[in-house]
Symmetry: C2
Subunit: 207 residues, 2 copies
């Protein structure tokens, strides 16, 4: 059965409903991550998140089963952004050094943004056991990707030979730390900070 062309259905299409659901889900996550980062996870209640969005707590529960699930989704978004940075760097090709630089610049930028900051502030023991295992697996995947990119650069001589595992942890520490000290109102843009840290890691401190 088709409806007359002049009658527009006042109901949303399936695709529109899915898009609206996604928009609402994301608004919950963006609001929650802001509270987690500024007040801490334990000090944030779902009532705070609901009040900020001018809805009730049951509305939040329509999209997420628990505060733990919301925290996990926030760190997952941050970690997936870092993982995507690695995939994109590999797709662009170039030397190991070129790929590492592209990966580090994007990784560093993620750490200046809310979901990246949430990754840096969340410790394993804040998550429920099932989420914790997925959190650790994602972190391991990112570390393996970083280490493999460094190893590729050492193998093609575009990076200084050395222990790729130690180099990967040195890089990860410096990049993750950005989330702890970078302030958008601190006089430097996220891009300036990002380039500064990546340059320090690539070139070292000695002349």
């Amino acid at each position: 059965m088709t409806r007359p062309a002049e009658v527009k259905s006042p109901w949303l299409s399936t695709a529109e409903r899915a898009a609206e659901r996604e928009t609402k889900r994301e608004a919950v996550l963006r609001t929650a991550v802001h509270f987690f980062n500024t007040r801490g996870f334990h000090s944030t209640s779902l009532n705070d998140v609901a009040a900020a969005l001018e809805v009730t707590k049951p509305t939040i529960y329509h999209y997420f089963s628990s505060k733990d699930e919301i925290l996990f989704e926030c760190v997952r978004l941050g970690l997936e952004a870092i993982r995507d940075a690695g995939d994109q760097a590999r797709e662009r090709g170039g030397s190991g050094r070129d790929q590492l630089e592209a990966l580090m610049l994007e990784y560093a930028l993620v750490m200046t943004r809310d979901f990246g900051i949430c990754v840096s502030r969340t410790s394993d023991d804040q998550l429920a056991p099932a989420s914790r295992d997925r959190f650790r697996a994602l972190k391991r995947e990112i570390n393996d990707s970083l280490q493999a990119t460094i190893q590729a650069g050492m193998d093609d001589a575009s990076l200084r030979p050395g222990d790729a595992r130690i180099a990967a942890f040195t890089v990860a520490g410096a990049l993750n730390w950005i989330a702890r000290w970078y302030r958008p109102d601190g006089g430097m843009s996220a891009e300036e900070v990002t380039r500064g840290v990546v340059h320090t890691l690539l070139s070292g401190l000695t002349p």
Copy 2:
């Protein structure tokens, strides 16, 4: 009044009592920091600490007023060890680069040990407000010292010119991160890991 030379007092002298008190206090901190690092601060009770030392909880309260005070003392010991590393590096003299290398090697070693690990795992919001302010002040002091050492090296041209603030945060992140990934049973000694990270920071990743 002096006692006959042949009679040794069975009571401890004032100095001996102070030393004994210090030994007991330290045993509480070393036991507590081990539980905090392996189980998390929130999951550790003072009953656990007392039981491990085969005393009762009131005995612990003879030395510390609260679990918060114990956590603060643990992070204070870690932070003071890093601060002392900076003081020693400056006293030894040499170029800014020499002082920075000495500081970083010792800072990195602290981060492989229990009190350093506790510093890395403790976030501001786990401490009571008064302790939090002292924790932040100590961290700021260490950051200022690291930045001043890097600036001195840039000024005497023993380090590559650049932004000493960004370089200090890059170094601090890489060193603090050691506490998150170093495992004593991971096949590398603390000294090997320490030298590897410091070498990466000084020499950079590019040839």
